[in-house]
């Protein structure tokens, strides 16, 4: 029974990684950049939701919506101010370093406003825990909501990309920006939309993460951010199904590693798995081989 319970915990944590990894992978696929500030957007989402709940005593659902709106706007603003001016920069390192700078900037702004001591996060999930097998297996409400959110996001996002004009424009921009322009696609706006979606998802991930592990500090986003980046690479960066599968596998490996091997070594195990996957399949699980047609 304990194995099942670990598995569900892993699935839940993995779902959070998957939601964060989606943002990483979409931005990489479309803007061809690694947005290392993505993890800190999660943390901002957590603070936005917590502030709403503490200051105004609003319904947690409204707090979640506010967090999503705040982060969506934040993502678009970051892209506009920090990344867009560097899009034609001679070296791709310029935007990478800027992303690291934005990451520190967000952490320090939050540190300035809220202080460094961790805040006790109040769960936004109102669902009661599910007790199965006469109480031997308990599935938390947070786990249920997180896993369901992940599934719903996956379905909606896939439909959005394959069925809507904006989604098709994203695919076109990810393949060839110049040809996309010739089709009449506004590349800048498409990239901004990608940041908006990725950051909105990051806010949701942040709220779900803090509900399951209720401690929030200015550095809360960095480790899940890195793990989600690993998940995206693991699944094949640029691939949406890859981010989902990579995230979920990573969460399960981490929790099972903690339970059966060593809780200190859990992170090391996660990265070791990444190294093995990349040695065997350098493009990740779902990564496509880049073909150059002449």
């Amino acid at each position: 029974m304990s194995f099942l319970s670990y598995l569900i915990n892993g699935l839940s944590l993995g779902s959070v990684y998957a939601i964060i990894a989606l943002g990483y992978t979409m931005v990489y696929g479309i803007a061809k950049m690694l947005n290392f500030a993505h993890g800190d957007v999660i943390m901002v989402g957590g603070y936005a939701a917590l502030t709403m709940m503490l200051a105004t005593g609003t319904n947690p659902l409204i707090a979640v919506v506010v967090a999503i709106v705040v982060c969506t706007v934040l993502g678009v603003v970051i892209e506009r101010i920090a990344y867009r001016p560097l899009r034609e920069a001679a070296s791709p390192l310029a935007v990478l370093i800027t992303a690291i700078g934005v990451s520190y900037f967000l952490q320090n702004i939050v540190l300035l406003i809220f202080g460094s001591s961790p805040k006790n996060f109040q769960s936004v999930v109102l669902l009661p825990d599910l007790k199965l097998a006469g109480g031997a297996l308990i599935i938390t409400g947070e786990a249920i909501v997180t896993i369901i959110s992940c599934i719903v996001i996956m379905i909606v996002l896939t439909a959005f990309i394959n069925k809507t004009k904006a989604g098709q424009a994203m695919l076109a921009v990810s393949e060839d920006k110049g040809a996309a322009r010739l089709m009449g696609i506004n590349v800048d706006r498409t990239i901004a939309l990608t940041f908006a979606i990725g950051s909105g998802l990051a806010a949701l991930a942040g709220v779900l993460l803090c509900s399951a592990y209720p401690s929030l500090s200015p550095y809360t986003g960095s480790m899940p951010g890195i793990k989600a980046f690993v998940a995206a690479v693991f699944g094949g960066i640029g691939s949406i199904p890859g981010a989902m599968v990579g995230g979920i596998l990573l969460g399960i490996i981490e929790i099972l590693g903690k339970a059966y091997i060593s809780s200190q070594l859990a992170d090391a195990i996660v990265f070791a798995v990444l190294i093995v996957v990349l040695l065997v399949k350098p493009t990740g699980l779902f990564g496509k081989k880049i073909q150059e047609k002449v």
């Binding site: 110049g178 040809a179 322009r181 010739l182």
Partner: protein, 236 residues
Amino acid sequence: MAMLEVRDLEVYYGMIQAIKGVSFEVNEGEVISLIGANGAGKTTILHTITGLLAPKKGSILFEGKDITKVPAHRIVGLGMAHVPEGRRVFAQMSVYQNLKLGAYTRTDKDEIEDTLSRVYKRFPRLEERRNQMAGTLSGGEQQMLAMGRALMSHPRIILMDEPSMGLSPILVNEIFEIIRSVSAGGTTVLLVEQNAKKALSIADRAYVLETGRIVTSGDAKELLNDDSIKKAYLGE
């Protein structure tokens, strides 16, 4: 009034001047060819017309409207489509999705379906392969897809960059036959080609480009029989 007018165009790549004051015009219904060797600046001119590159000097007028500073993504909506060099189809999307992207700026749903069926009629192979990824098509099929995609925007003028590049002689003939029929359908064509003989055989007029300058221009049939052109570009 010319449909497309390029005046004193100068384009630079960094410090290097690629286009050194080029002027030409395309009248409605014509097939105009820009011919010249590799590196003469043909592709640069097309990229500048559709806004992928910005000129340093000069102006571009389309149907009397100055489009010199219009961003690339607004051009197609004005009625000008560009079939880029190397086809540049979206390899990981299906043939159908590629064609639908060609109509990205259009909102008239029923008429888009109508255009789609006409494109399928013109290129039956695209219909057969509509669910196939574009990257798995042969070179000739990709060229047809790139042309079909451009036609999906229902353009009044179509800019084609080296449509015959890398194709077998039979396919080259097929592609030029298609260009002829696109023109016969009422679409004005600006054709950039290294295959000067073929280009001149279907063009009304032509401009000969050499290292960023127009050196000769005139009636395509006359150029085809011009001794110096024959020597330099037709390999005779």
